[in-house]
């Protein structure tokens, strides 16, 4: 079983886990993902790759508590194990030297655009990174992005740090001011990716988005991760996860992500009600958006 080297809280609802999976890491590339299962009764959940340490065989996953499985993940201690970590899955991000490329990371999406920014940089691009979160305390990886990007823009929705506003606002301004961006990679919550693609559409800048729909096996066998791109059905696990953002049907994606809303709430409530779980106080206070 894969060993968890460490698993630390880096934000109110955000954790960073490093897993020792040398054979997987040796093969993995930026933009791919893995599927993990925490324990024997656990579900299989896809996780973006947030970092690869090829020398030590370590995979970094950054995750946000959004339900039972992610809450359960926070209880795994450094030195412990998870049942499975399989991958690398999906097609690696397309990388070439376009001249100037921009990565946009919103919320938890700040994590997976980091290795992609590294890959863009290595290919010789000038890299502009725009990262944003709800507030200062939800922001992470600023230093990491700063080390890779030629130009880093940081923003928060509430204005508690950096530029006040959304990542899409920053991108809009850069493009309006004539930044020579030839390619955009945007990863984050679906509404953020949708807005970014609207902005880049206006300026006719090709834009990749990385989709993270629900999936089971991750090898094309179940078809649960089907997304509509340019009117065609694609499987995010084998055809993606990166797709042309201007062709993705975000409405269908948004709806499908809510397929198990009720079951998820039931499971989370039961989990939080269990006094034996060793959960961080912030996780204990967890509420679904729009509920108290």
């Amino acid at each position: 079983m894969p060993r968890v080297v460490d698993n630390v809280q880096i934000g109110p609802m955000t954790w960073k886990m490093r897993v020792e999976v040398p054979r997987l890491v040796a093969k993995a590339k930026a933009g791919q993902f893995v599927i993990i299962r925490v324990n024997e009764s656990g579900e299989r959940v896809p996780m973006s790759i947030a970092g690869l340490n090829k020398d030590e065989g370590l995979l970094t996953i950054i995750y946000q508590v959004v339900g039972k499985t992610s809450a359960l993940m926070t209880t795994v201690e450094g030195g412990g194990e998870i049942s499975d970590c399989v991958g690398p899955l999906g097609v690696a991000s397309h990388v070439e030297n376009w001249g100037t490329a921009c990565v946009v990371g919103g919320g938890i999406g700040i994590a997976p655009v980091y290795p992609i920014a590294q890959a863009y940089k290595e290919a010789g691009n000038k890299v502009i990174s725009i990262i944003g979160a709800r507030s200062k305390e939800n922001l992470f990886y600023e230093k990491e992005h700063g080390e890779v990007a030629d130009e880093l823009h940081v923003c928060t929705d509430d204005g508690s740090y950096g530029h006040a506003g959304f990542v899409s606002d920053v991108l809009d301004k850069l493009l309006k001011d004539g930044a020579p961006i030839k390619m955009v990679m945007a990863i984050g919550p679906v509404p953020m990716m949708r807005v970014v693609t609207r902005v880049t559409k206006e300026y006719e800048v090709p834009t990749w988005v990385s989709l993270n729909p629900l999936m089971v096996d991750g090898t094309g066998m179940c078809g649960g991760c089907r997304v509509t791109v340019g009117g065609e059905t694609k499987f995010a696990c084998v055809d993606g996860p990166d797709f042309d953002g201007h062709a993705v049907d975000f409405d269908i994606l948004t709806k499908r992500l809510n397929a198990y809303k009720e079951q998820e709430r039931r499971a989370m409530k039961k989990f939080l009600d269990d006094p034996h779980c060793r959960l961080a106080e912030s996780v204990r206070q967890f509420t679904y958006p729009g509920t108290k």
Binding site: K27, S41, R44, K68, L72, G224, I252, K255, E264
Partner: protein, 475 residues
């Protein structure tokens, strides 16, 4: 030893009826439906065998089980020896005794079948395999001295397990790579618990591990190591048994609605991930009140019977041809009918209709009639114009087959495929266009049965052994 009786007398014995859970009881649980023969029944059934010299039943078996010999061992009441007799050629008797379509293989060839009912070979196979396992009589088979040759098997379904079981006994070092977290392939993700309990598959895999087979689960060949890299790592031969990969959908409006599953997804959630046990496992599943399963094969039967057990009020089979054309085993269709499954024959959906949350709520269908036969020899269904009607459904399971998964083919240069993307092989040796690379099961044939996959595995094992021992390996 049971006293043998005259052949004329043997023909008078009635074929044993497998005891099973009553339909009204079993639709509320996931326990296995048939209980298995009692010892008394097995002995009576074994008496029916006429011990034909030519044994046509053996010709009907894709893995050439010596059927009269194992039945004779039942009459000697040495059930474990009977199980071992089967295992000489079939690594998975407890599985095959349950899921093989015996009625179109060994039993159809039984001489008794001409005038009476055939010997219940499948029931007897299951009886001895269960007896051996339940009484802890499973022995590690004798293994030949190590040959020093290494074989990689990609996929741990019935084809891969058969290759592994046969080759490990011949002294080769075997590693099975499995993409999922548990071995067994379709036996664990596809076939439901009520037809094939998962502890039986686990026991078969454990026995193989005890014989020396290494299992590497959660390892995707083509993503982790490619076939070429396996050779570089010192493997001398590779067998590809990756199964039927990508689920087919109808390609009609509304198919992205929530509550429309491929059969693969629905069954994987319930079987492998055990979503039917909401208290014990985390994977969710949509249960559905009015469930339509599209298709007429065994997978469709498995899905529709699962939906009933998950609490549906109405579970429908929606199939575009008539019952006569249904590819499912007669036994499965009868089990489904007994369980109150409603069959909508000569019906095809043309559109799914959703609510404001994007959940399926209705399905628009057309009635069909049968026209002249098509390429498959079955009468082609033709839509009846203006026959449109609406069905209320809150869960739809699409069970209309699979296409091949291109993962291995696309990462293995020189591996030839046919126009459907299935790997092409020499049908005698199962060798692919690449020397040392063999393939079998659904990745070669498209969706078929467990036993045909095992039969392909058997042929491949024989050819691989020859390849490894005759030094035919190109340097």
């Amino acid at each position: 030893m049971v006293q043998k009786i005259e052949k004329k007398e043997r023909m008078k014995i009635q074929r044993a009826q497998m005891p099973e859970q009553a339909p009204e009881e079993r639709v509320r649980n996931f326990n296995e439906v048939p209980h298995g023969l009692t010892e008394e029944q097995a002995l009576s059934e074994a008496q029916r065998c006429l011990e034909c010299k030519k044994a046509p039943c053996i010709d009907g078996c894709p893995v050439e089980v010596d059927i009269p010999a194992f039945i004779n061992l039942i009459l000697e009441k040495d059930y474990a020896a009977a199980a071992r007799k089967i295992k000489e050629t079939n690594s998975l008797p407890a599985v095959c005794g349950r899921v093989c379509p015996q009625e179109e293989q060994c039993e159809i060839k039984c001489v008794l079948a001409k005038k009476f009912k055939p010997v219940a070979i499948g029931h007897l196979e299951r009886f001895v395999a269960d007896y051996e396992r339940e009484n802890d009589l499973v022995q590690i088979p004798a293994v030949a001295p190590p040959t020093g040759k290494k074989v990689a098997i990609v996929g741990s379904g019935p084809a891969g397990l058969t290759v592994a079981g046969d080759l490990v006994k011949l002294g080769h070092e075997i590693t099975i790579f499995e993409a999922l977290h548990k071995p067994g392939g379709v036996l664990v993700y596809g076939i439901p618990e009520f037809r094939l309990p998962k502890n039986i598959v686990q026991a078969e895999c454990d026995a193989m591990r005890d014989t020396g087979v290494t299992f590497e689960n959660s390892t995707i060949v083509g993503k982790m190591d490619t076939i070429d890299e396996l050779f570089e790592q010192g493997y001398d031969a590779v067998f590809i048994g990756t199964g039927a990969g990508l689920p087919n959908f109808m390609g009609i409006e509304g198919e992205q609605l929530i509550g429309i599953y491929s059969a693969n997804e629905y069954l994987t959630r319930s079987n492998l991930m055990r979503a039917f046990d909401e208290e014990g496992y985390d994977t969710p599943i949509i249960r559905g009140t009015n469930v339509a399963v599209l298709g007429g094969g065994n997978t469709a039967m498995d899905a529709v019977r699962t939906s009933k057990r998950l609490g549906a009020d109405h579970s429908y089979i929606v199939y575009r041809r008539s019952e006569a054309e249904m590819p499912a085993r007669a036994e499965e269709i009868h089990h489904a009918m007994d369980e109150g499954i409603e069959f909508h024959m000569l019906t095809t959906p043309i559109k799914f209709i959703g609510d404001e949350e994007g959940r399926v709520k209705q399905m628009e269908c057309l009635k069909m009639e049968l026209g002249p036969p098509d390429d498959s020899g079955r009468r082609r269904p033709v839509p009846i114009e203006g026959s449109n009607f609406i069905m209320d459904v809150d869960l739809v399971v699409v069970a209309i087959g699979n296409s091949s998964n291109p993962l291995i083919q696309s990462t293995t240069p020189g591996l030839e495929t046919n126009r459907w993307g299935n790997i092409t092989v020499n049908p005698e040796t199962m060798q692919t266009s690449r020397p040392g690379v063999y393939a079998g099961g659904d990745i070669v044939t498209g969706g078929a049965t467990v036993i045909l996959a095992a039969g392909a595995g058997k042929k491949a094992a024989r050819a691989i052994h020859q390849y490894l021992t005759n030094g035919a390996k190109p340097e």
